[in-house]
Each structure stands twice: as structure tokens, then as C-alpha cells.
Symmetry: C2
């Protein structure tokens, strides 16, 4: 692999059979034996092409992540591959589908995203929607926290004229198994051709390069650390399957929000950063709730057990939190299914303490939503009302038995 | 439904069509109209039966939860249904399989379980294993935290002479859809006939009453808040399928730990309660790590994003925690897949800060294991060594592509 001339000039980087890179200190190498030597491969395999001016314009917003980077073989640097020309060279098929315009908002690993970044992305999208020359928006994003950002944009930007599509890659574009191209092309097809007015995630539908799936941004979760089909809809069906070779969007879920007129766009792009997502576990220490309250947190999302429980020792601390004006909401760590706090004593006591039950919202979606709600109001009655309002299908009222995946060998 | 004479004498309780009960204050009822009247049904449908003394003896340990309770129609109280005669009346099929002996250790909702309860259950099981007249052990447990207790017992009790089987119910035994009987009978069959020397969870394998699945205690998770087939193996195959009508155990996973000689039983039944399970999210506030350290927590399990990440702002706090002797371990909130902290910069920096990567261990299992390890040693080098040791297959070295479930419609 090319040397990282600036960051680690003494390291030799080898690409391993498993696709990962390993760095070796060159001062510790006693001998290098050449087993096989191949001729130097030209960097650019695709001739420079021009975009067809008759094609619709898609705005690509760069935020970072694996999809937006490539190793530059001349200099050895890993740098954003985010000019329209870069994207066309990586994915020549794009030249038949759309013209691209790129704005690199920032280039960060997605674990470093914050509510402030969500606001910046939302405002960039809102500005773009106002333009009459743009027909779709694709956001390149790291996969680690992509579903959180998707949920944030879904609440911040409602009544959309076309799908706002988040896309990423689980394998970098210098690996033969990269999923970047298929995902990106599918994302462009989705924003142009899908009938949804929703914020969605578009990622591989299977481990192979056959199709992508479009997931509702408030109902999707990264369910595997490394698979290409890591993203899955939870408590809802994927909105669509995209066949990139055919350029076709196959709608799978009829309960989608349709495209709306541009003028009806609703933008509320603020998020309260003093919200915590707290997981319940046996022996959970109620002092954690007390500490958050005492340090001025405005909201606490509990990822409870089962139908929405936490140990009874925590109830006085939760009661105190609510009395001091902190919003406490309940979700379930089972991920699948719905919170129902009327069945067992613990649930009823938590409701009495003022906990807001979040139905079948994912814990991550409830976290994002509470952050969005608390930026609008800190009146707990209003917070409750907004948390229980179904804005963008973050609550699915209809669970059919087949919404639960089938585990292998069972 | 019978009145709760002691707790709520003024309430009339109705069983609704959906199976749940609703209480109505009798002082607010203006008129009751009798639509249909059926003759009084005798409480006990099964004649009192005796256990066949030639059958093997199974010890049932009661800890609470839905499976261990029933409505007593004479007095109206919900009370533990945990005498051998109770169990036989509820499940007459048991009379052909085993003799039962019951010990009610406690009767708590499983969200109120603590590491101290794990210790008590483990010691009770260890005492029972010493007895030559007992051929199997079944533990009745609430489902909310059953997988945590299963993991705790798996670490506390190694080299087992027969499977230690945790069993519960998602629907109470006063509902037509109860899963209590099928699960309980399957659990008794498992402890007597399965070839495993492991702590396992035995619960419904499908939504209907066909078979149960036996899951390895360290690899199982409640994945749905209400379905009968809520429990699923993650990053591993279920150990077996149990056909209760045939009394048959069908082994599904050949990588099981076989039964061991009684004398080789290894008991380490202590758990450190000052351990926290902390979930990473965008904008995660590093002060949460600082607060836990300052309040004397001994261990922190991070449920990170993707391959095992948390925001870079938290790295100094994590470094400080490790420097002050607090064990910090990393798992992934994707649940499926493995932590790999060598791929991206954030992972490498976390490793440098002293974070211990937990491979494909579930966050909940890593939490229980760290609590178990810290009760043995607080030397961080020792803690690291023990966390990375694969004691009871809590780490699965072999992930095949089909270990990931298939989502409907995809």
C-alpha cells in the first residue's frame, strides 16, 4: 500500500488477504523478498467524463466516513474522494443517472457526530431544498451513528419534496469487497425516483452486490459490526428495495409518507445536547439518575427491560428527576416489540412517577426525538405531548407477527 | 376475575379479550348487566396425583416472575404456584417425566434482580449439585433479566454434571395463550436428557406451541418485549430444540460443553456490584465516565458503536479511569458481529488508553463477566487476562455468514 508520507513515514503498509491493512516499522524489517512483481497499474481506469447536462442534479453532502474516502496511490494519503469527478471515476454508472454537485460539510468519523452536527446537516439540506435546480439529496456518512443522524434529520425536516438519503460503506473503496459503489448509486436512484418524502438510509440488502434496501430513518439500526447488510428496519418493513443495475425502486412498504410540495417544508433544526441514553441492568445504581439530574441534564431516555422496566430502587430517583423538571422516557432494550407499562406493577409505578412511555420507538430514536423536543420546550406537559405525537412514523401502530426476523437454524 | 381481597377490596377485576386484566373501582359502577352466566368451574381439573417414585428427581428453584405465579380463584390472590403439586396440576404431563422438588429462594420481579441474587441462586445450585439424588435443576425466573442471570450462573458454576435450565413465561398461566407449560416441560426434559454441561435458557422457539429452543446462557438475549419466541441466540446457534410431546432433545449446535463429572464442579459465586453498563451515542458526555470513576465504580462496560467506538472526546476520561484502576471494556451496540478496534483510528486510540476489547460478547454478558472478574481480582492486568479468556463459550471464534437472522421482506 502507499506510504503515509506525513503521518508515519517510517511505516510500511501491507494489504492483507482479509482486506485490512497492517503497518510495520521499516526499521524492524531485516529482509524483504520479492515473491511476485506485477506491472504498475494506472490510477485512473476510467477516462475523464463529463456529466450530461440534461440529467437531473443531485446534491451530495459529505460528512465523512468510509464511503467518502479513498487511498490516493500517488501520494499515499487517505483523503476524501468527494469531488464530482472523484465520484464519477469510482462509479462511472452515475454518469447515466444524474449530475452531481458536492458540498463537503465536514469530514469526521461518525462516532464523533454531535447534535450540533445534526443541526448543520439539517440546515444545509433545508437550504438545498429551496433551490429549484436540485432534484435530490444524498448524504455520505459514517455508518457507526448513521441511524442517529437519520432520525435527527427526519424530525428536523418534515414535509419533504424528495427522499433525503443517507448512505455509507462498511468496507472502504480500496477493498475488493467494498459496498461503496452499489450503495451510492442506489442512494442517487432513491432520491430521484422513490415516491417518499422521508429521510431514509440506503445500504446493502444482502451480503452480495444484488440490491440495496431503503430504511425509514426513524426505524433503522446498525445490527452488525461488519456485515455489508448491517442496517435493518426494526418494528417496520423497509420502505423499498433498489436494483441499481436496472435503476429501479421497488416499494416494499405502502405505509410511506409521500413527497410533499416544496413550500410545505417544515424545519426545526435544533437539538438539546444535555440528554442521556441510559441502559437498565440488574443492580442498576439509581445514583446515576441522581448524578445526571444534579449536573443539569434536561432529559433521560431509559433503555429498560422487557415491557419497559427498571429496578424499583430507581423509582424514587426517577420521581425526583421528574419533580425537578427533567423529562424521563422509557424504551426497551429488546429493540423489537413495544413498551407496555400497564401490565406489571413496576411499569405502573414508573408511569405514576411521570415516565413517558415511547411505544415501539427504538431507544436511539427516542434519544434523538427527546433531544429535538427539549430544544423546543422544557415544559414537561408539552414534552409528553410531543413525545407521544407520531411525527414521521417513528411509532408503528401496526405490528404483524412476521415483523420479527427469523433466526437461522430455528 | 377473583377479587384481590387484601390489596384492593374495592376493585372489580375483568379479564379482557386481549388477555390482560383491568381493574374498575366498584364505587364507580352504576349498573352491571348479566349477559351470560356459566356454571362455576371447579378450580382443580386434575385429580390429585402422586409422583412415580421410580422417576428421576428434578429440583425446581423459584425466583419469581410470570411463570411462577397464578391467580388463586378461591381467595383472589396472585400467589406463587410453586409447590410440586401446583406444578403437577398445571402440567399433568410432568408426572410421566420426573419427580419434582421445589425450593422458593425468593419471589421477585426479575427487573429487581441484583448481583447479590445471582450469588444466592448460584450457591443454591451448587448445594443441589452435591446431592446424589437430584438429576437436574430448573430455575423459574422472570424474563426481563433472565439472560443476565443465565450469564452470571454460567460464569459462577463451571464443569456442570447436567444443564442448569432457566425458564420463564411471556404470558401468565391464567391466559389461554400462556407459554408457561410448554416452556417448563421442555426445561425439565432438557435438564434430564440434554448432553450439555452448560447453563442454558429454555423458551418458546416459535410463536406457536410446537417446540422450545435451548440457548447458551452467555449467548442469549430477550429480543422482543412480548412475543413468546422473544429469546434468541446472538452470534451463536441455539444448542438444541426440544419437542415436549415426544420428550425429545434435538441437538442443533455441536460446539457444546459436555456434561462433566460432579467432582470437577468449579464454583466462584461472587459478583462486584460497582460495575456500570454505559451506552455510547452521538454527543456522549465524557463527564458520565468521570462521575462513575469519582464515585468508586470498579468497572465500566461500554456498549460502543460499530466495531467498538465511542466519541474521541471521551478518550481522556477513559484514559484517566484506567490510570485510576478502573477496568473499561468495549462491546458493540450492533449486538451482532465482533468488536475490532484495530481497523479505525478511534479504536486504536481506545486500545492505547487501556480499553479491553470483548470480541463478540454481548454487552450484557460482558457486564456480568466483568462483575464476576472484578470480584476475583482488581489488578487490571489480571482483569484483562480473565476478560479475554473464553471460559464458557462466551466468545464464539467462528462466525459463519448464516449466523445473522433474515429480516422479513428483505
Amino acid at each position: 500500500m502507499p506510504k503515509h508520507a506525513l503521518s508515519a513515514p517510517e511505516m510500511i503498509v501491507l494489504k492483507l488477504d482479509n482486506g485490512y491493512n497492517v503497518g510495520i516499522d521499516s526499521s524492524k524489517i531485516a529482509r524483504i523478498e520479492v515473491v511476485e512483481c506485477r506491472p504498475f497499474r494506472e490510477y485512473s481506469l476510467v477516462p475523464t467524463v463529463q456529466f450530461d447536462p440534461s440529467l437531473p442534479l443531485v446534491k451530495v453532502v459529505g460528512t465523512g466516513g468510509t464511503i467518502a474516502s479513498r487511498v490516493e496511490y500517488e501520494t499515499g494519503a487517505v483523503k476524501p474522494a468527494m469531488t464530482p469527478q472523484d465520484l464519477l471515476e469510482l462509479m462511472p454508472e452515475l454518469g447515466r443517472i444524474a449530475r452531481l454537485e458536492v458540498e463537503v460539510l465536514f469530514n469526521i468519523l461518525s462516532e464523533n457526530m454531535t447534535p450540533h452536527h445534526w443541526e448543520q446537516i439539517a440546515l444545509c439540506v433545508a437550504r438545498t431544498i429551496e433551490r429549484s435546480d436540485v432534484s435530490g439529496i444524498v448524504i455520505a456518512h459514517g455508518t457507526d451513528t448513521m441511524s442517529y443522524t437519520a432520525a435527527a434529520l427526519a424530525f428536523a425536516l418534515q414535509n419533504l419534496p424528495y427522499p433525503i438519503v443517507l448512505v455509507g460503506a462498511q468496507r472502504s473503496s480500496d477493498r475488493p469487497s467494498t459496498d461503496a459503489a452499489l450503495n451510492f448509486i442506489s442512494a442517487v436512484i432513491t432520491t430521484l425516483r422513490a415516491p417518499f418524502g422521508e429521510v431514509v438510509v440506503c445500504m446493502h440488502g444482502t451480503p452480495s452486490d444484488t440490491y440495496s434496501l431503503v430504511h425509514r430513518g426513524v426505524k433503522v439500526r446498525k445490527m452488525h459490526s461488519s456485515r455489508r447488510d448491517a442496517f435493518q428496519s426494526i418494528n417496520d418493513y423497509p420502505l423499498a428495495r433498489v436494483w441499481p443495475l436496472e435503476g429501479r425502486v421497488e416499494v416494499l412498504n405502502r405505509r410511506f409518507i409521500p413527497r410533499k410540495d416544496k413550500d410545505s417544508l417544515r424545519v426545526i433544526a435544533r437539538f438539546e445536547p444535555r440528554v442521556a441514553l441510559v441502559k437498565a441492568y440488574p443492580g442498576f445504581q439509581p445514583e446515576i439518575i441522581d448524578m445526571l439530574v444534579d449536573r443539569g441534564f434536561k432529559g433521560i431516555v431509559i433503555e429498560g427491560t422487557g415491557l419497559g422496566h427498571i429496578n424499583e430502587q430507581s423509582i424514587p430517583s426517577i420521581k425526583r428527576a421528574v419533580e425537578l423538571g427533567v423529562a424521563v422516557v422509557m424504551t426497551t432494550q429488546t429493540l423489537f416489540g413495544r413498551v407496555n407499562m400497564n401490565v406489571y406493577l413496576t411499569g405502573r409505578r414508573l408511569l405514576e412517577a411521570g415516565v413517558i412511555p415511547c411505544s415501539d420507538m427504538l431507544p436511539e430514536t427516542a434519544f434523538v426525538k427527546l433531544s429535538w423536543v427539549l430544544a423546543q420546550t422544557q415544559d414537561l406537559n408539552e414534552v409528553r405531548k410531543l413525545m407521544l405525537t407520531n411525527f414521521v412514523n417513528e411509532i408503528n401502530p401496526i405490528h404483524t407477527p412476521d415483523l420479527y426476523p427469523r433466526w437461522p437454524g430455528t
